[in-house]
Symmetry: C2
Subunit: 418 residues, 2 copies
């Protein structure tokens, strides 16, 4: 008997045919004697439709009322999934955030889950009932529905798994696991059987879209094991939880569970970056603060920063990156500060990409950065900026070289599926 | 300062343009210093869409889950209405049935409201807040959302008005009041300025679709004054509640508030009737029980009943009416009982109409029935069955004579708008 959470995203519950398919996955687990709780997203497209209605009502709308409108999407799916499960002979019952309750803070539209009490649900699960829980929503301290922000259903599933003490949280999605890199640009990309929380966290924040960053953070903190898997699998032909055969997909878990640690587990790329260069800034103390202080105040996150001294020794060039969506805002903020900062020229472009190499094995292996820079240089790819952490190295390069860089590094670190 | 409930039905909130128009009605009342609470239905078409989804999920579905899915329609409207009101500078806040809570029994899909506590809402209304309450829904004893059955939003509005002690409950709809009869078939039909609860109750149950029967019953029991009015009126040009000018539409109120009582206030017709005749049943004690007992057990409501003795004195014909939707079910139930009851022939038709004359003045005026029968006879309209109450007379006639009968009676009782 395995206690598990099964989460189905928007494309996995897009219509009643898909809901029936998802329900068949649940039935397999029930038939095997497991105890699943189900978490569902809104049917694909519904959240966008509801968000558009709130915008049409008023561009500047109250976040509480946005939550009232948008949370109805998951509500509908819970009821439909419960009906479909019942029609398959499974005792099922829908649960909204306010009924459990999934307790959140009061940040309407982007709330954080504080607690998911599992007692009532566990009592019902022991009697054979399958709870179908609305993802993406909770109950705020004002007795009003809150939503967690886009992609929040993964986080709901992890929080529920923690609240129930589930052995695993299965995230059913439209891909069949976590890959060493994007299979669309590297045909030899391999599915990973296991990946550590730390690596997954870097991958999620560096461009891999398979899991929402917050859900991975929470899984790491609560020790919830995540199985990323495809809802398109034939429900009958995959093994239920607790059987000897491994589950399909990728297990995101503590690194202690990973026996053979790769030096590099994955290569990501993020195209939604913009590079800004301030040319010939006076090279004097306080200039960095003059540039980055006002940007921080404007709520603009700066990622990589490079400062290079010019030939005359009196001037410096400052290059940094921001999210592409913040480029215009950043450029106009800096233009206003031109006199104050004193620079010769301001350049901005979104024609860049951040390519990252990720692996917990880097901690104990030196030379990963050196081999990376050498391999890129051999392909004449110029590195514009660098940032590193204990388990990743990111470089900013010309966007035109994205595929070449990712393929080169994928081969370099032995990730190709041979 | 008038405390009032303003209820907007599905066509009055069909899209954001209509919601803005409805909100302008609310704004007029706020601007006049009144304290409105708003009740909204689902946007026109939404409930049908959601009901279809539950049917697609499974034709035989759990009523609790049906309620979970279908109640989302009103939820969306409350949020959108609150956003639109806020954009007009009005403090507004949405309320779902579970938040107030609108306490109902546990009859999921057709629940009855037991209580609407008004304290919290009244406190907020005193501070200038406008509550926007989801109609058609409540909270059952199992902590689950219930729905009241189709048309239940009128009942929600009346129950809320009672809970708040509101002076009036305005039902905004797509017609501009209650008419002496259907204006589509009698061009001279007149809008009534006032009508008593008892008359409205008969009209609602006898075919006038403007208000749901249960809402009128509840209004009568709780003494809630209802103003039926058009949401299509120009919000600026109609007087706010509490002003000297009378509100547009029709006031449904206690008969004590009606100074000049008409003998007849309205003529209705109902086409969704079916007539069944059992020909040559043995005229012996217990035969009526043998026919109607099994129908009652099958949940079939029988309305009018006529028993006529045949020429030989040993047989009788039994004619009665049921809802047209129950005709097939009734016919097959009787076929199965053919041997037991012993009849010669079974005839059924939906080619009939029930025409009714309604008026509280009938209580003190004899001769209304006689003049009605005489007028119909003069037009060669054959009466197939009759039923009466203290304030109404209904006759069953051939459907082909519907318009002629209604027009004839409308003139006969002086209801024509001259």
């Amino acid at each position: 008997m395995t206690l598990l959470v099964m989460k189905f995203g928007g494309t996995s519950v897009a219509d009643l045919e898909r809901i029936r398919h998802a329900a068949a996955h649940v039935k397999r687990e029930v038939a095997a004697g497991n105890r699943p709780a189900v978490v569902v997203s809104a049917m694909a497209g519904e959240t966008n439709r509801l968000v558009a209605l709130t915008r049409e009502a008023s561009p500047l709308h109250d976040a509480r009322e946005y939550d009232t409108v948008v949370s109805s999407g998951e509500q509908v799916t819970t009821g439909l999934m419960a009906i479909v499960l019942q029609s398959m002979g499974i005792q099922a019952r829908s649960w909204q955030g306010w009924q459990i309750p999934i307790v959140t803070d009061d940040a309407h539209g982007a709330a954080r889950i504080k607690e998911v009490p599992g007692n009532e649900l566990l009592r019902r699960m022991e009697r054979g009932e399958v709870p179908v829980v609305a993802g993406f929503q909770g109950l705020g301290p004002d007795n009003r529905v809150t939503t967690l922000g886009r992609g929040g259903s993964d986080t709901s599933a992890v929080a529920l798994a923690a609240g129930l003490g589930a052995e695993r949280c299965d995230i059913y999605t439209d891909v069949d696991g976590v890959y060493t890199t994007d299979p669309r640009i590297v045909a030899r990309a391999r599915r990973l059987e296991r990946i550590s929380y730390e690596e997954m966290l870097e991958m999620a924040s560096l461009g891999a879209k398979v899991l929402q960053t917050r859900s991975v953070e929470l899984a790491m903190v609560k020790g919830v094991r995540l199985q990323v898997r495809s809802s398109f699998d034939d429900p009958e032909s995959v093994p239920p939880a607790g059987s000897d055969a491994p589950a399909p997909g990728t297990l995101v878990c503590d690194e202690d569970e990973i026996v053979e640690k790769q030096i590099v587990s994955g290569i990501t790329y993020a195209k939604d970056e913009a590079r800004i260069t301030l040319v010939e800034v006076a090279d004097k103390p306080g200039v960095a603060a003059a540039v980055f202080g006002p940007l921080a105040e404007a709520g603009i996150n700066v990622d990589m920063i490079v400062q290079s001294v010019s030939d005359d020794g009196r001037h410096t060039d400052i290059t940094f990156t921001v999210a592409a969506a913040d480029l215009d805002k950043t450029m106009s903020a800096l233009e206003e500060l031109r006199a104050q900062i004193g620079f010769k020229e301001l350049r901005g472009t979104t024609d860049v990409v951040k390519v990252s190499v990720i692996g917990i094995g880097m901690r104990s292996h030196a030379g990963v950065a050196a081999s990376m820079f050498k391999a890129l240089a051999e392909k004449s790819i110029n590195i514009q900026a660098i940032s590193t952490s204990e388990i990743k190295i990111s470089v900013l390069i010309d966007a035109a070289y994205t595929e070449l860089a990712v393929r080169t590094l994928h081969s370099l670190y032995g990730l190709d599926d041979l």
